[in-house]
């Protein structure tokens, strides 16, 4: 009979030039088990899973699939065995449609032609099951990050896989979709499929998984039953020291908060099909949270404020000056941590240093145009240190860093400018528990210095924890606004799904 473990990973070692990504890692994955894989950014989680998926080959160690040796040389080998993966970095083909992406590499055929209709239907069915409303014929490049993530999930579950690896599948989607996803995962578990689930979100791990394996710096720290370990213990295992995991802002409002000093003023901002009549103000020393469901138009609104998109009508004023264009926005002291780090945030073939300093090069120039390398090195080293970016050196290529560390580069880039207004779109995407606290602390320091922050987040605890005030958007409209003490998670949701608006009408 089949062995109890669908997958046995034994003593895997993997080095990249300059880093030992995995050192002697052993994990057993049982049938019908949801197995969490946790650890700090750069611990080696994604690397291990990529080895499973045939993307990397291990330097040492062996793997058994269903008791038999398993040596995947290419992704196909793993796919053929029934191992599919939701990748941390969204690897979709932008010019192709949802259906084409879902079936990429595993197209259904009808004679010698592809069975387009059949595949579209199957895609539609899966989307219905997940409760997302997309057309299988939509091109990926027209989807929001969240929608893309959903497509990646659909791709992984579209085939009757035995093992599904999910590398931070919920980093960009909102609670509603998360709930749907969990339903599906449970269903898969019911069919005796096995899931490896990587996440930095404690609540997800506790509500979903049966078993947890912890990695730290490429080393296996241990595997435990989820019910046998408390969150504090788990965090201790991950970071190797005590950590006050949840950062609590000292005071509800920072001392510099000044209700009368408007930093950013947005008036009647409209872009057809995206958002309408957006009005709000950001005050000095304030953290303004923005909540909404997937596709509510938050990202577009912020991109428009920052000058990446042109508004159909309406104005954006920063400290009294109208702004248009990204350069003007940056000059006026606005910074923008984008949601999609790979597309908008990073030059993956540039070094960590080059990425950090690109937005504020003028700070590391001498004579206005000449690079001051010494200063540049010092500045980037300081930021690498401050954000604890795990990289071999400042000259490492950004593309070789782990997902969370890439996100930290994007943050570092904007922290460097010490901006007056920092817009952060899903800033803690893929960031580990410890680093999150660091980032919250940095945000807190900023507002204490009298700066302001707009924070978009789909993680309600984070939003409720950090914001002084929260605006809720629904289908392109602002449907609610309240200071955070007035809001519960439920009320937030009610605004977000547009119920309150209906009530008003």
């Amino acid at each position: 009979m089949a062995s109890e473990c669908i997958l046995e990973i034994k003593n895997i070692k993997k080095s990249f030039p300059g880093v030992k990504a995995l050192d002697n890692v052993t994990i057993n994955l049982k049938r019908g088990e949801i197995h969490a894989l946790v650890g700090e950014n750069g611990a080696g989680k994604s690397t291990l899973m990529k080895i499973l998926a045939g993307i990397y080959t291990p330097d040492e160690g062996e793997m058994l699939f269903d008791g038999k040796p398993f040596v995947p040389k290419k992704p196909v080998d793993a796919l053929d065995k029934g191992i599919s993966m939701v990748h941390q970095e969204l690897d979709l083909v932008p010019e192709m449609t949802v259906e084409e992406n879902v079936f990429s590499g595993r197209e259904k055929k009808k004679g010698i032609m592809v069975d387009k209709r059949g595949m579209q239907k199957r895609t539609q069915d899966l989307m219905d099951e997940l409760g997302i409303h997309l057309d299988p014929k939509d091109k990926i490049k027209n989807l929001s990050t969240a929608e893309q993530q959903m497509v990646a999930i659909i791709r992984a579950i579209a085939f009757d896989a035995e093992v599904i690896i999910m590398d931070e599948p919920t980093s960009a989607i909102t609670d509603r979709e998360v709930a749907k996803l969990f339903e599906i995962i449970e269903k898969l578990k019911g069919k005796n499929k096995s899931i490896v689930y990587i996440s930095h979100k404690m609540d997800e791990i506790y509500s979903l998984t049966d078993e947890i394996t912890v990695l730290r710096d490429g080393q296996l720290i241990g595997s435990v039953h989820t019910k046998d370990v408390t969150p504090d213990e788990l965090i201790h295992m991950m970071v190797g020291r005590e950590l006050n995991a949840v950062f609590i802002k000292d005071a509800p409002k920072s001392a510099t908060y000044d209700e009368n000093e408007v930093v950013l003023k947005v008036e009647n901002l409209t872009r057809a099909n995206e958002f309408y009549n957006i009005n709000f103000e950001v005050k000095r020393g304030e953290i303004l949270g923005i909540f909404g469901l997937m596709g509510a138009g938050r990202t577009e609104t912020m991109e428009t404020i920052f000058g990446l998109r042109k508004a159909d009508s309406g104005t954006v004023t920063m400290r009294g000056d109208k702004i248009h264009g990204v350069k003007a926005a940056i000059r006026k002291g606005i910074a923008f941590v984008t949601e999609d780090r790979k597309l908008f945030g990073l030059n993956l073939i540039g070094s960590v240093k080059d990425n950090i300093t690109i937005a504020y090069l003028k700070q590391v120039l001498k004579g206005g145009f000449l690079m001051d390398f010494k200063k540049e090195k010092a500045t980037s080293d300081e930021l690498i240190e401050r954000l604890k970016i795990k990289c071999a050196s400042r000259d490492t290529l950004a593309g070789t860093l782990s997902g969370g560390n890439q996100q930290k580069i994007v943050l570092a880039k904007w922290f460097m400018g010490d901006p007056d207004l920092l817009i952060m779109d899903e800033p803690t995407r893929g960031i580990d528990v410890g680093a999150k606290a660091e980032i919250y602390k940095l945000m807190d320091t900023l507002v204490k210095e009298g700066k302001s922050i707009i924070m978009i987040s789909s993680e309600t605890p984070e939003l409720l924890g950090m914001s002084d005030r929260i605006i809720v958007m629904h289908e392109g409209f602002i449907t609610g606004e309240a200071s955070k003490n007035e809001l519960t998670q439920e009320e937030l949701m009610a605004y977000a799904i547009g119920e309150t608006e209906k009530a008003k009408a």
Binding site: L79, D91, L92, G105, L308
Partner: protein
């Protein structure tokens, strides 16, 4: 950024015009060109002349079909001109008057040479990961060198009458060359749009890493694209040499640029992931009709160049509201 949603219920009309221009720009440009030339020159709008244009451009057209595959993967093939010459010379050398080698065999040898060149480039690109620009440039020089050695730099003439068929015969008003080009267009479209292989071509052009991860055999797909392109180039070479009844060792020079231009005017993107075989036909027609029309209007070749440059720019400009 400013990506437009295809299925947008567009609110204001201005955008709509832009969208239409963006989507059909090249077609509109082609139409304008066509109508303008019909008025400017009496000789332009005649059946003979239109078939004439197609016949004259069949060689470039077939090259552009193959090139489209390459470009969709994000590659480029600079060796097609040399392959044209190689296939032409090899086949012409075998299809001499009075020899017993059947013409079909001679042509097959030419085709095999093209497949070989394509496989050579494809190997270095797909497996040795050498940039396509360099690999195909190398194939180009090597192939051209071989052709010169083979022919001693002299054209190969004296081909048998049967050899002339594909390039010069007509079925009624329809030249055989045009029929062959049509077949290439149909097969190319079918392969690229309706088969699994075609999807893989788009997938690796759109995002090679994503394609690898989803189990597409990137290497074979990429390799095959150059083989296909080599095949098309060889066939184009046969057509050319049949048309001029000669194997020219220096023939086909610079054809790669024409083929690439046609594909790009037709909407293919050199960064990969976009393009269509039918689009390459449009590209061929824009350039072909323009050349023909300017010749008919007796425009000096110096001014022709200037005009062509401007028109190609305008055609693509009309088409590129998007990126």
């Amino acid at each position: 950024m400013n990506k437009q949603r295809s299925n947008a219920d567009v609110a204001n009309k201005k955008v709509n015009v832009g969208a239409i221009l963006g989507k059909y720009g090249v077609y509109i440009a082609l139409l304008v060109l066509f109508v303008a030339l019909s008025f400017a020159s009496e000789s332009f709008l005649t059946v003979t002349n239109l078939f004439n244009i197609l016949k004259q451009n069949a060689v470039y057209g077939i090259l552009a079909v193959g090139m489209t595959f390459v470009i969709v993967t994000g590659g480029i093939d600079l060796s097609v001109g040399a392959i044209v010459a190689m296939a032409a010379c090899f086949a012409a050398a075998l299809a001499q008057k009075g020899t017993t080698t059947p013409v079909v065999i001679a042509m097959l040898v030419g085709i095999v040479a093209g497949l070989g060149c394509g496989a050579f480039s494809g190997f270095f690109i797909a497996y040795a990961k050498i940039p396509a620009f360099i690999a195909t440039l190398a194939t180009c020089t090597i192939a051209r060198g071989i052709v010169y050695v083979f022919t001693d730099g002299r054209p190969i003439t004296g081909v048998s009458d049967a050899y002339k068929y594909i390039g010069r015969a007509s079925w009624g008003v329809v030249p055989v060359a045009v029929v062959i080009y049509a077949i290439f267009l149909i097969l190319g479209t079918f392969l690229l749009k309706y088969t699994k292989y075609g999807r893989h071509v788009f997938a690796i052009g759109g995002n090679k890493k994503a394609a690898t991860v989803s189990g597409v055999n990137v290497e074979i797909t990429e390799f095959m694209v150059y083989v296909i392109c080599g095949f098309c180039a060889a066939f184009a070479g046969l057509l050319l040499s049949s048309r001029i009844q000669t194997g020219q060792p220096a023939g086909g020079e610079g054809y790669e640029l024409d083929a690439i231009t046609a594909a790009v005017i037709g909407g293919a993107s050199l960064s990969g992931g976009k393009g269509s075989v039918f689009g390459s036909l449009i590209g061929i027609l824009v350039v072909g009709i323009l050349t023909n029309g300017l010749d008919l209007l007796n425009v000096s070749s110096y001014y022709q160049q200037i005009i062509k440059g401007v028109i190609i720019l305008l055609a693509v400009l009309a088409d590129r509201k998007k990126d």
